[in-house]
């Protein structure tokens, strides 16, 4: 069994993995850049190691720095979390070379599934349906545009190396493409260092539904049902839920089988996700393989809540060489879970990431409420990394109950001092289209004006604001100069 895990990540996911380690009696080692010296994931870990300056490329994306930190702390495993190096074969390969367990699939599987072209070919061979598209051999702007033309407009142009919506553009006409193809390429180069573009048919009003899979090193592969991830802005997920209201039992069964077949074809190990686009609804809806995420997903908690399993615990068990703790027949979906991603961003200004102090940050709690967060009150949110602050996950016996719990929790989740998307999330859950489960990937764009319109200010808000002034004038500690004592600050720690 793994004894000590170095977590090559930050924020809420590092904290989540630290929790699982603690429960399993495994020591956790956090890593941090100069921007994260006082971050929650550093305070929560058993040990912490500095790995470099603030820019991710010199810290969280530095394989040598992470390997050195692992050697220095005698960690016998590295958990990559999501993002950063989680889907880069270099870290997995370096771990294999150094005799350190990588909590994830083998390096060659990451490589195989990381190539959109290779993954598609593999899926085609395994009989998994795929969306029509190609990586044009002629990678000039004109060549990419010609490929879009032959596939048909509207087409989706995206970074061959990437994900997360970076370097992705919807091209509706040849004229539009003349500006958008170079823009996509610039973003692709900036984000991934590789400007190769991929073109595919845009499925109109699709749902984005993904299947959680899990494989061990003993030949067992299971799926843990679907997550509905259709609610996105700028191609990034905002709300995820399980089950998907668009998926019938028959469709669920065939998607689950396809996902297991995909994982087997990939030679997969550990937790992974097969993303599908779903067109239409009912038993005759069609689904297409989009890509495989060879890592733990941001939205893994919704699966944990409806299947009653701990995916991170299972990751650590499987990475230790143990068998999967469950067979397919042990797994069932019950109730409904909804995850809301809480971002430091301004929905009124194109979801621009925000930086600033968390003057007030209070998490809601109660039956069926889970908050996975990477911050605490008094922290200062910087601009160096992803603006995800936390995830609020609500569970209920059905979708209506889960929605009601999520909404009540959002209404009791004050974050002040930095603009954030809590009001936007509350409006989204209040929206009749969401409540009717009529979600698709363009819904947020379509109803955006309704989600961001200025609210009337109740008189009580002014009265409360005036009181804040009074408090300050009496020179009692003001909220912006909060002088909480963090016990960790007073303890001399080793390994830093």
């Amino acid at each position: 069994m793994i004894q000590r895990v170095l977590i090559a990540n930050r924020g809420e996911i590092a904290v989540r993995i630290e929790r699982a380690c603690r429960e399993m009696g495994i020591e956790s080692v956090a890593v941090y850049s100069d921007a994260d010296v006082n971050a929650l994931h550093v305070r929560m870990a058993d040990r912490a190691v500095r790995i470099g300056p603030a820019p991710a490329i010199e810290s969280y994306l530095s394989v040598p720095a992470l390997l050195e930190a692992a050697r220095h702390t005698n960690a016998d495993a590295i958990h990559p979390g999501y993002g950063f190096l989680s889907e880069r074969r270099e870290l997995a390969r370096a771990c294999e070379a150094a005799g350190i367990v990588f909590v994830g699939p083998p390096a060659d599987v990451i490589e195989r599934m990381g190539s959109k072209i290779g993954a598609r070919e593999l899926m085609r061979a395994a009989g998994v349906p795929i969306v029509p598209g190609e990586t044009p051999r002629d990678q000039s702007d004109a060549g990419v545009l010609a490929a879009a033309h032959s596939i048909g407009f509207p087409a989706l142009v995206k970074a061959s190396a990437g994900g997360g919506g970076k370097g992705m553009r919807t091209v509706r006409s040849e004229a539009e493409g003349r500006d958008l193809v170079p823009a996509a390429r610039r973003e692709a180069v900036a984000a991934f260092g590789d400007g190769t573009l991929y073109v595919e048919r845009l499925i109109q009003r699709p749902r984005h539904v993904e299947i959680q899979v899990f494989a061990d090193s003993h030949g067992n592969v299971v799926h843990l049902f679907e997550r509905e991830c259709s609610l996105q802005r700028r191609h990034q997920k905002v709300i995820e839920e399980s089950p998907s209201m668009a998926i019938t039992p028959a469709l669920r069964a065939s998607m689950g089988e396809a996902a297991v077949a995909a994982a087997r074809a990939a030679g997969y190990r550990n937790a992974g996700t097969i993303e599908f686009l779903v067109e239409g609804s009912g038993d005759h809806a069609r689904f297409y393989f989009l890509e495989m995420n060879t890592r733990l997903q941001v939205e893994h908690p919704v699966t944990e809540l409806v299947t009653d399993v701990d995916l991170v615990r299972a990751q650590l068990l499987v990475a230790s060489g143990e068998r999967l703790p469950w067979a397919q027949a042990d797994l069932a979906q019950r109730g409904h879970a909804i995850e809301c991603r809480v971002y430091a961003e301004d929905p009124d200004a194109g979801f621009l990431p925000q930086a600033g102090p968390l003057l007030v940050y209070r998490e809601p709690s109660g039956p069926g409420i889970r908050v996975d967060s990477g911050v605490a009150e008094g922290d200062v949110v910087g601009v160096n990394y992803d603006p995800l602050l936390a995830k609020l996950i609500a569970f209920g016996e059905n979708r209506e109950a889960a929605t009601a719990r999520a909404l009540a929790a959002l209404r009791a989740y004050p974050i002040l001092g930095i603009r954030n998307n809590i009001p936007f999330l509350a409006r989204l859950l209040e929206h009749p289209t969401f409540q009717a489960a009529q979600v698709h990937t363009h819904l947020i764009d379509e109803i955006l004006p309704e989600l961001t319109q200025a609210a009337d200010v109740p008189a009580e808000v002014f009265a409360a604001a005036a009181i804040a002034t009074q408090t300050n004038q009496r020179s009692t500690p003001s909220t912006d100069a909060r002088s909480t004592v963090d016990p960790w600050d007073t303890i001399e720690r080793w390994g830093r």
């Binding site: 610039r186 984000a191 001092g417 809590i422 009265a463 604001a465 009181i467």
Partner: protein, 151 residues
């Protein structure tokens, strides 16, 4: 004591009568300030935070950002509208030149930060009067990048 708070385009006058009694729009509210920024008014719970010139208030899933009006901060007619970066970013492209006429909403500069392109749009219609950045430059927030003379 009277305090002027600004939300959007509107100004609101709030009278602080005495401890816990506050008048807004001819109605008086009993305001109980509890610890850690929690305020109770009638059956409502609000959270508040203050900075030297702003107030943040959370009520029922909504966040209100109010600024405290300083006596001399008055709007002029015929002014310069200055645009700045919302966060540290690199100037990827400057889409206009000095003397160009821009409409409110036109993209004038494209920044790049966190590997995303961020278009900066003219806030008001006018003529580009000055450009204070060059392509490729790393710019800091709140530093003017471009000024538009608004008639």
């Amino acid at each position: 004591m009277t305090l002027t708070l600004v939300h959007g385009e509107r100004e609101y006058k709030v009278d602080i009568l005495t401890d816990g009694l506050i008048r807004v729009d001819d109605r008086t509210y009993v305001v109980r300030s509890e610890r850690d920024g929690i305020v109770r008014i009638g059956g409502l719970t609000l959270w508040v935070a203050a900075t030297p010139d702003a107030r943040w208030v959370f009520l029922n899933g909504r966040v209100f950002e109010l600024s405290v009006l300083r006596p001399r901060a008055r709007r002029r007619v015929g002014h310069d509208s200055s645009l700045s970066a919302p966060m540290p970013a690199t100037v990827r492209r400057i889409a206009v030149a000095v003397g160009d006429v821009v409409k409110a909403g036109d993209v004038v500069i494209v920044l790049e930060a966190m590997k995303m392109e961020l278009p900066i749009r003219a806030a008001e219609t006018g003529t580009v009067r000055a450009i204070h950045c060059v392509e490729g430059e790393l710019v800091q927030p709140a530093v003017p990048l471009l000024e538009v003379a608004v008639p």
